[in-house]
């Protein structure tokens, strides 16, 4: 019987080894490295899923030391969901990138500005992947910091792979946000260590941190992570960075990287600090997060509607959709008759996390599809994509399916997520959150249709299309289809999300 030790090690090690292999140089080693990383991640996601389904929460004491002395990997349903998301998105993007950069790689001339992407996309994205899996599996505060740094460094480098001045500026800004966010996070870690004398998440959770010092540590960490995850109003860095990056990099950034910081927020708020537990009395903080999330939904959607550039529109859509993840927080506790303590809302929890999952898949699909369209027409303006409906039906389908899933059109995965959130809001009689959720969905539909309408227009000058390789279209479509299909097979994932140490199961 292969144990959790093997699978969790595989999730961390496979991308690192893949990155090292891909650094050897040459197209074959890049392909081999990507394959290794993707295969390892997919296998480990499946293995961890089975382990957690059968045995529940699993731990891997690295080096055999165990907490508090050593570092532990901690695997519950939530970790598995995110590792699986990273595996699926990473694999699809890897396939896409091998074609996208493929021409440059096969020409063997790495000296052209853009061809650097051909050589360095694979190692950087694989290191990023390792960092992401490390974040999702980590059970140790300081280890989270190290992993987030790896994610931040490689993500910023991915943005600057598009060598334009715009991209360099955006990457630089992103690096600063990432580094200063990390510093705030690290200060929070320092304070928590000084107060509680341990770095293990589980031990901290048992200590039930409270009091001024711990609260300020949480505030500092949340501020740093909010900057990293581009929570409104700290989102200004995201649209330029995600719009200027090469298309496969944009997909990874929007789908996975911002989620990693969000994941840490969830771990801290719900798991370590247990802010939704009876008696935590943190409704104010939860509502504040929800309010920022609501602001993100409205502001991001309105800004998306006003964009003239396709990739910027999608980037603003990311800002908006991240808002839903934070709107989840106030809905997690249902107000009950006896004031102070609230009951845990399974619907809100499942809905929020399900949304993270679906958004990851759908947004990656949309960015890849947008990459195909801009590649075909050699322009990023929305008005220039007219006619892609005829030329690139598969890409447009991928974009549309992804967009509809985000908008929450049944039977997509996004629909299920929004339905659960809406249900939680209505059940608790908090109609204002319900309105925000519904309005956000309508706005999403509006900007997706705006792009689709342009795509169906007849092109002014037919014949100006570059041929888009088939596999690039298939990669986008595959992700979009998975995003929709998630709406049909929600039960397993929602059950999986209940396994673990968050909320009342602690």
């Amino acid at each position: 019987m292969i144990s959790v030790e093997i699978w969790s090690t595989l999730a961390i090690v496979a991308p690192v080894v893949g990155a090292l292999v891909s650094l050897l140089g040459g197209r074959r080693s890049i392909l081999a490295g990507m394959t290794l990383g993707a295969a390892g991640s997919l296998a480990s996601a499946a293995g961890l899923y089975l382990t957690v389904r059968v045995n529940g929460v699993a731990r891997h004491a690295l080096g055999g030391w165990g907490r508090p002395l050593g570092i532990e990997l901690y695997v519950d349903g939530l970790s598995v969901v995110f590792v699986a998301l990273a595996a699926v998105v990473g694999t699809a993007v890897g396939v896409y990138a091998s074609i996208y950069f493929g021409e440059a790689a096969s020409s063997g001339d790495y000296s052209t500005p853009g061809a650097r992407g051909a050589r360095y996309f694979a190692p950087l994205s694989l290191f990023l992947w390792a960092g992401l899996n490390g974040v999702f599996l980590s059970g140790d505060l300081f280890n989270l910091y190290v992993m987030l740094e790896i994610v931040g460094l490689s993500a910023a480098a991915l943005v600057t792979l598009a060598v334009t001045a715009k991209a360099t500026q955006a990457g630089m800004r992103y690096l600063f946000v990432s580094l200063s966010g990390s510093m705030l996070f690290l200060l929070g870690i320092a304070i928590l260590y000084l107060v509680h004398g341990t770095l293990s998440l589980e031990q901290l959770a048992q200590a039930r941190p409270s009091g001024l010092a711990s609260a300020s540590a949480l505030a500092l960490m949340t501020a740093g992570l909010a900057a990293k995850t581009a929570l409104f109003p700290l989102h200004a860095w995201l649209p330029p960075a995600h719009a200027a990056a090469p298309a496969p990099a944009s997909a990874i950034l929007s789908a996975l990287v911002v989620k990693s910081a969000f994941y840490v927020v969830v771990r801290l708020w719900l798991f370590v600090f247990g802010l939704t537990l009876p008696g935590a009395d943190a409704q104010g903080a939860l509502v504040l997060m929800g309010t920022l999330g609501a602001g993100a939904i409205v502001w991001g959607s309105v800004m998306a509607l006003r964009q003239v550039s396709l990739k910027r529109l999608i980037a603003y859509s990311t800002v908006a959709q991240l808002g839903y993840l934070f709107v989840m927080f106030p809905l997690l506790t249902q107000p009950s008759a006896d004031a102070g303590s609230g009951a845990w809302s399974v619907d809100a929890w499942s809905g929020g996390m399900y949304h993270a999952l679906c958004h990851g898949l759908a947004k990656a699909a949309m960015f890849l599809a947008a990459g195909n369209m801009t590649y075909a027409v050699a322009d990023d303006a929305i008005e220039s994509i007219s006619g892609v409906a005829r030329r690139l039906p598969m890409s447009l389908l991928a974009f549309g399916l992804g967009g509809l899933s985000l908008a929450g059109v049944p039977p997509s995965g996004g629909f299920l997520a929004k339905w659960l959130l809406l249900g939680a809001a209505l059940e608790a009689g908090r109609w204002i959150w319900a309105v925000v959720i519904a309005v956000g969905g309508l706005l999403t539909l509006a900007y997706v249709l705006m792009v689709a309408r342009e795509a169906f227009d007849a092109p002014e000058d037919p014949g100006d299309f570059r041929a888009v390789p088939r596999r690039m279209e298939w990669a986008a479509l595959a992700l979009a289809v998975v995003a929709v299909l998630l709406g049909l097979r929600g039960v397993e994932i929602i059950e999986l999300l209940q396994i673990g140490g968050v909320g009342p199961w602690r």
Binding site: S3, E5, T9, V13, V16, V17, L20, L23, L24, G25, H60, A61, L62, G63, G64, P68, L69, G70, I71, Y100, A104, P113, G114, A115, R116, A118, P123, L124, G131, G134, N143, V146, E149, I150, L153, S154, A157, T160, A162, V163, T164, A165, K166, A167, I191, L194, V195, H196, G197, T198, L212, A213, P240, P246, G371, T374, Y375, A378, D380, D464
Partner: protein, 356 residues
């Protein structure tokens, strides 16, 4: 006596704050960079006073030394880049920006910073003193790691996983810098001119062997006393910088297979050891009973070499930004992966970079 020591500590602390404040407020970049190095050295004094000699070594060698050298090198590149660099003197190295006409804003910023600082201090000073539980645990279990320096024990034993990814972060930074475009890599001066510098050359010939021995000693003694792979690597990288600057060694190139192999070797070996022993130990990065010391020593040796190469590589490649690359003006604004000039309808379309 204890009052004197106390006065020393307080003056070091005050000096630190003064240096940092000055570095953040000055408009002269060279001054700020030199102050950064001074802060690093003062910090290592503070580390010694706080009973953390390992950190002091690392701070002096890495924080002040290598990072400082990196800043200086980048500064020099910047100074030679500005529009006025050739005739009217330095341009980008004096920050004239952001000041004029917003005095109210500046006062508000300083006030807010003061409030923030005082709040932070109050919170930190208010933390009640607890038992040193984890330090106690480290002391109890240190024997099992095979080393007797508790810091090395934590770094390569208990928390080896963090150290693995710390090395990984260095490799990521190196690869990321590779992925930036590079132009002229002769960072300092003309190689011909370099050879005519007998003083620097003599210094290098004198210091390099001593530093090499010292690096080996640091790795060796790291298991029982202060020292270890990172400090030794910073020292070796310093030797590399000297060798390169004095013209005794050609700048290493990122394309060279040797650099790639050496730079990634440490990480690769770390992963291999971690995974390779799993069949016997059952968990990642666990070492079999009694093998801790040997494995740690070998690992530290290879890591030292690897990290030294990475640091030297960063030192040389970071400032190697090319002069404006004319090809950049022809890059497709939509992020064409090839960065080539586009051909649509047989017509060349060259889109100069636009700003928003």
């Amino acid at each position: 006596m204890s009052t004197l020591v106390w006065a020393l500590d307080v003056s070091v602390a005050v000096l630190l704050v003064a240096l940092v404040a000055r570095a953040m407020l000055t408009r002269d970049l060279l001054e700020a960079v030199v102050l950064f190095i001074a802060v690093g050295l003062t910090l290592s004094l503070a580390w010694v006073r706080l009973g953390a000699p390992d950190v002091a070594l690392a701070e002096a060698a890495l924080g002040a030394g290598v990072t400082g050298a990196l800043f200086l090198n980048a500064f020099q590149r910047l100074a030679r880049t500005g529009p006025g660099a050739s005739d009217a003197g330095p341009d980008y190295v004096i920050d004239r920006g952001s000041g004029s006409g917003c005095g109210v804003l500046r006062v508000a910023t300083v006030g807010a910073a003061g409030v923030l600082a005082v709040t932070l201090m109050t919170i930190l000073v208010g933390i009640p003193l607890r038992d040193a539980m984890l330090a106690q645990e480290v002391r109890t279990s240190l024997e099992q790691t095979g080393v007797s320096n508790p810091v090395t024990g934590v770094l390569l034993g208990f928390r080896a996983y963090d150290t693995l990814f710390e090395v990984c972060a260095l490799v990521v930074a190196m690869v990321a810098v590779w992925s930036l475009d590079r132009g002229n890599r002769n960072f300092a001066r003309d190689p011909k001119e370099l050879r005519e510098d007998p003083v620097l050359e003599t210094l290098t010939r004198l210091v390099a062997p001593v530093a090499g021995v010292l690096a080996v000693y640091l790795v060796w003694s790291g298991s029982s006393g202060p020292g270890g792979a990172f400090q030794a690597a910073a020292l070796l990288a310093g030797v590399g910088v000297l060798l390169t600057a004095s013209g005794l060694m050609r700048p290493i190139t990122s394309g060279a297979p040797a650099v790639r192999v050496l730079g990634t070797m440490g990480l690769a070996l770390f992963v291999c050891v971690g995974v390779g022993l799993m069949p016997w130990t059952g968990s990642f990065l666990a070492y079999p009973e009694g093998w801790g010391y040997a494995i740690t020593l070998v690992l530290e040796g290879v890591l030292t070499l690897s990290i030294a190469v990475i640091l030297l590589e960063l030192f040389i490649d970071v400032p190697a930004a090319p002069e404006v690359d004319p090809r950049l003006a022809t890059v497709d604004p939509t992020g064409d992966p090839l960065g080539r000039t586009l051909t649509l309808d047989g017509a060349l379309i060259r889109s100069p970079e636009e700003d928003e």
